[in-house]
């Protein structure tokens, strides 16, 4: 996609509500060795801007009807409450796009794009939406008042609001009623030198459509692939400099 017809393409896109139909069973590819993408920082040290976390999504490898990343995210973060995508929080979703002229469709995951210039943080009246030094955009739910300005400001529709009282949250992923939330790039894993749940699930299923890593490290896989094959960003025209890059759209 070139930059000139970004807007036209997006206007044509038909965003499918909900998730793609769940595959009945998930064939696991045995023997896949996960490459540790993150250099673990010592637990007592603050994150720095020497790192910028990002993701590359190769939509040509993203399998039709597969929602392994979505399910992995829901499990990891304890998002499944009603098992109903219309009521449960969505941190990542498969979006299907169609070119009405040719009828060509393909689907790929969209989540918080972890912008370098996050509009959610710009509009947040309390400072709850913020960008960490390493580029991860988060909601500090301790100071979120649930006004949902950030949800309106986000051009990617990446955020969800928690409407109901919750219990049995994951101990590493606090969530609560009256606050906004979105993809955290699995910050609890990343701080521990691990990769995100969605990347892990995609690799396990043998698709390897998702690459997570440090955009500022020229030797990281994501930086090398971006340098070699390039990538594009959704709504690049907005100048938000997203940390999530796509290939093939």
């Amino acid at each position: 996609m070139n930059e000139d017809n970004n807007n036209t393409d997006l206007a044509r896109r038909r965003f499918m509500g909900g998730l793609a139909a769940a595959a009945a069973g998930t064939a696991l590819a045995p023997g896949i060795v996960l490459v540790a993408t993150a250099e673990a920082k010592p637990a007592d040290q603050a994150v720095t801007s020497k790192v910028r976390w990002g993701m590359l999504i190769d939509t040509t490898k993203c399998a039709d009807g597969c929602d392994a990343c979505v399910r992995a995210c829901n499990e990891e973060n304890g998002l499944t409450r009603h098992d109903d995508p219309l009521r449960d929080a969505q941190w990542i979703r498969k979006v299907e796009v169609e070119n009405p002229d040719t009828g060509y469709t393909h689907a790929f995951p969209v989540m918080c794009q972890h912008c370098a210039e996050p509009p959610c943080a710009d509009v947040c009246p309390t400072g709850a939406s913020f960008k960490r030094a390493d580029g991860i955009v988060l909601v500090d739910k301790h100071i979120c008042i649930g006004c949902r300005y950030c949800m309106m400001a986000c051009p990617y529709k990446a955020r969800s609001f928690v409407h109901e009282p919750l219990h049995d949250q994951k101990s590493y992923m606090p969530r609560g009623m009256g606050t906004v939330e979105s993809c955290t790039f699995c910050v609890h894993r990343v701080d521990n030198g691990e990769t995100t749940a969605c990347v892990e699930a995609c690799d396990k299923d043998g698709h390897q459509a998702l690459v997570f890593g440090n955009l500022k490290d020229p030797n990281s896989e994501i930086a090398r692939r971006l340098a070699k094959y390039g990538g594009t960003e959704i709504r690049k025209d907005l100048g938000l400099d997203p940390g999530v890059h796509y290939k093939g759209i």
Binding site: G25, P42, R132, H142, S171, N192
Partner: protein, 170 residues
């Protein structure tokens, strides 16, 4: 000056005497709020700081640590709320957990007595970390993953998953 000082001391002396009397006669007088029954820690002999300090200042330590973790990604264990729960809240099978709504819960025992509302558990789990980590049965994914490693003193998500299996939480 001396007279003023001693006057100031008088209520304190009376209070001390009152407390001594109470402790000598544990049967509370009618109308007294019963002293909280604080559940014993399920593991560990000593808290991260002396008990008196923690009783008085735990909220300050937690607040400070919360901001460091949230905004700077500092994930040391010392003032991690999860560590508090791991020691102070017994691990029970699903359905039998002691929740923060009950005075049997370590936090609520004192907070009910002091009349101070706890907001932490509107978002945070009130259970020891092993109990809250369970996997959706639909996934078909094995728990844990080959690339995982534990760094420093921080518990990793996958460590918690492994514990959930050992605890028989299916």
């Amino acid at each position: 000056m001396v007279a003023v000082r001693s006057l100031w001391r008088l209520p304190a002396l009376l209070l001390a005497a009152g407390l001594a009397a109470t402790s000598m006669a544990p049967a509370a007088r009618a109308g007294d709020v019963p002293q909280p029954v604080i559940p014993k820690a399920v593991k560990g002999k000593q808290c991260v700081l002396p008990t008196e300090d923690m009783r008085k200042n735990h909220m300050k330590y937690l607040l400070h640590h919360r901001d460091l973790t949230m905004h700077e990604g500092i994930r040391t264990k010392k003032f991690d709320l999860r560590q508090c729960l791991d020691c102070h809240v017994p691990k029970k099978p699903k359905g039998e957990e002691v929740h923060v709504t009950s005075k049997q819960h370590f936090c609520q025992a004192c907070h009910a007595y002091a009349g101070v509302k706890i907001d932490c558990f509107q978002c945070h789990s009130d259970q020891p970390s092993q109990e809250t980590t369970h996997f959706h049965t639909l996934s078909g994914r094995p728990i844990g993953h080959p690339g995982h490693k534990t760094v420093d003193t921080t518990l990793s998500a996958s460590d918690l998953q492994a514990m959930a299996v050992e605890g028989g939480n299916k």
